[in-house]
């Protein structure tokens, strides 16, 4: 640091002191950061669903429809759960459980897809066995935005208002996320 810079720095500290920190803290409360000022281009949206996502609020459909993006609805069935059922009960029980889960999944995918299509959006659907968090993180790399329910992956409670799986997913992503 040059003589001039250190002189200015010292003098600034003497004159402005903590006052500047207080002022800048207040400004940060209402001025948008450079990152916030960038309007992201959204062409594709990933929307994971599972048995815990009971419904999608109308506000989410309206928000998503503003982007005019291609949407992939993905229903992930937890493969570990079926394996556990198979091992603890029987292969038949596991198959029955799987059939019921697939039915719930199909129904939810159809309902959400129809609603999204009614807003004029292009929707694709997928259902597969996998890991509910790791697969979403992996797939999201190819999408511009993620729209995820706070119930995804587990029930929520008053003390835990957002699913731990959702927290894990959003911590690993760099794309914008809508949590509904």
């Amino acid at each position: 640091m040059g003589l001039y810079s250190s002189f200015i720095g010292r003098k600034f500290k003497h004159i402005a002191g903590k006052k500047y920190e207080d002022i800048i803290k207040h400004y940060r409360e209402f001025l948008l950061t450079e990152e916030e000022r960038q309007i992201p281009e959204i062409n594709s949206i990933l929307m994971p669903l599972d048995r815990y996502v009971k419904n999608v609020p109308t506000e989410v459909y309206e928000t998503i429809s503003a982007y005019e993006a291609n949407i992939l609805l993905v229903y992930i069935l937890d493969s570990q759960i079926f394996e556990l059922v198979r091992q603890t009960l029987s292969p038949e029980a596991s198959e029955e459980f799987k059939r019921r889960e697939e039915m719930i999944g199909e129904e939810l995918l159809n309902t959400v897809a129809k609603k999204l299509e009614s807003y004029g959006l292009k929707v694709q659907r997928r259902m597969f066995f996998g890991n509910k968090s790791d697969d979403v993180i992996r797939m999201a790399e190819n999408y511009d935005m993620l729209a995820i329910s706070k119930n995804y992956g587990s029930e929520i409670t008053k003390t835990s208002p957002i699913s731990p799986l959702v927290l894990k997913i959003i911590q690993h992503l760099e794309i914008p996320v809508i949590v509904y």
């Binding site: 004159i15 002022i23 209402f30």
Partner: protein
């Protein structure tokens, strides 16, 4: 020279050197110097109240309380956002509007607080426009020093001059207001000419900037609506009383203290919190300086210098020229507060052979506008350059000197011209 004179002068020079070097806090330097003068009994204890100039110290304290209470309401940030919106993303409008707003606020509040509150907004808006923030930041500095010159309460040198010479708020506004107005126009024009190549944005970009600015809600800056309203009413009342204080025969310090008490009483803010934010260091700095300069007065040193000057200066016209230009160049290098503290007794001592009335205005002109000459000339300069450095915007000493010196010479020249026409020619 007597040993006492030599000691008082040595304390004075040593303190000034410490203040200029900024190696230790200026308040510590002034307090140490003041204590030495008292220890050596150069200024007798019974004369301390005489030299301390309570008018200046209490006026500053009162205004600090008003500003610090008002700051809690978010009024200044509200003004900054409103100004940014009014500028509509046009760099020339930003330059003009922020210069006018800075000058206006600086005329009534202290320059450091003004620039501290407006600079973050200026940097934000220049980043939004994707243009260099340099012209905006420089014009803000110049405008705060010019605006501060316009009134009795705008800049500490004016408070000191007003108190020492018994000049009223209206007299300051009548004498320095027109000069400040002309200088502001001159300054904006020069900055525009110097940076006109960078003050351009395309219409598409302007539309995007406008969209972002419109998303800013000035009401979100208001932290306390009730305090916001009470602050506006109090400031308006204080300004009104400043206008009539001479007719009511009350001191400006009384007006400031009344305003401070009223706002504290009305707002029910915690006085301990507000008083903690009063810049006690600045007030003690003033106290120390007054005592150090008092030492020079007591020893008769100031009287001798005044006699020596008056042997060369034969009339008010020459004195106006010498004081204004000397003050301007001196204030560009050293802090204008200790400089003014030294010049006041000097001008008072010249009163035996000259009419000092125009000389006070020349001192105010030089001391306030001299700060524009260099990057270290005034506290507002250091604050803006310091904030810019924190935001990775480099304003070098030479960057500043090139345009600052030009602005200083032009504005002081215009001011001297007006003073000359008013008090010498006619």
């Amino acid at each position: 020279m007597t040993p006492l004179e030599i000691f008082a002068l040595a304390v004075f020079i040593f303190t000034y050197a410490l203040i200029i070097s900024e190696r230790i806090h200026r308040t510590v330097a002034a307090m140490a110097g003041g204590s030495l003068v008292l220890l050596a009994n150069i200024v007798p204890w019974e004369k301390v109240p005489l030299y301390l100039d309570l008018d200046t110290i209490l006026l500053l304290a009162g205004m600090m309380i008003i500003v610090n209470t008002t700051r809690l309401s978010g009024l200044f940030e509200y003004i900054a956002i409103k100004t940014a919106k009014l500028a509509k993303g046009d760099p020339i409008r930003v330059l003009l509007l922020f210069s006018v707003v800075t000058a206006l606020i600086s005329a009534f509040l202290d320059n450091v607080t003004t620039v501290l509150l407006l600079t973050p907004m200026l940097i934000y808006i220049s980043r939004l426009m994707e243009v260099t923030p340099l012209p905006f930041l420089l014009s803000e500095i110049f405008a705060s020093n010019i605006g501060g010159m316009a009134t009795l309460i705008g800049d500490p040198p004016n408070i000191m001059i007003g108190s020492a010479a018994g000049l009223s708020f209206s007299e300051f506004l009548l004498n320095m207001g027109p000069i400040a107005f002309l200088d502001l126009i001159l300054m904006v024009f020069v900055v525009y000419l110097a940076y006109r190549g960078t003050l351009k944005v395309s219409p598409e970009k302007k539309e995007r900037i406008l969209r972002t600015l419109n998303n800013l809600d000035e009401r979100s800056a208001i932290r306390d609506l009730a305090l916001f309203r009470k602050s506006i009413v109090t400031i308006a009342l204080v300004v009104f009383f400043f206008f009539v204080h001479d007719k009511l025969e009350i001191e400006p310090a009384v007006v400031a203290l009344f305003g401070a008490s009223l706002l504290l009483f009305w707002s029910r803010e915690n006085p301990e919190g507000i008083l903690e934010k009063v810049e006690w260091a600045t007030l003690f700095f003033f106290g120390g300086l007054f005592l150090i300069v008092g030492g020079l007065v007591e020893t008769g040193f100031i009287e001798q210098i005044a006699q020596w000057i008056t042997s060369f200066v034969h009339n008010e016209g020459e004195a106006v020229l010498v004081i204004a230009w000397f003050s301007a160049f001196a204030s560009a290098i050293i802090d204008n507060i200790p400089f003014t503290a030294t010049m006041i007794p000097l001008i008072k001592a010249m009163g035996g052979s000259l009419n000092t009335y125009p000389l006070w205005w020349a001192l105010s002109l030089g001391a306030c506008l001299g700060g524009n000459g260099t990057a270290i000339g005034a506290s507002a300069n250091v604050v803006v350059i310091g904030i810019a450095a924190r935001e990775d915007i480099r304003i070098t000493f030479m960057d500043f000197l090139k345009i600052g010196m030009l602005i200083m010479v032009l504005t002081v020249g215009a001011g001297v011209g007006i003073l000359w026409l008013r008090y010498v020619w006619w």
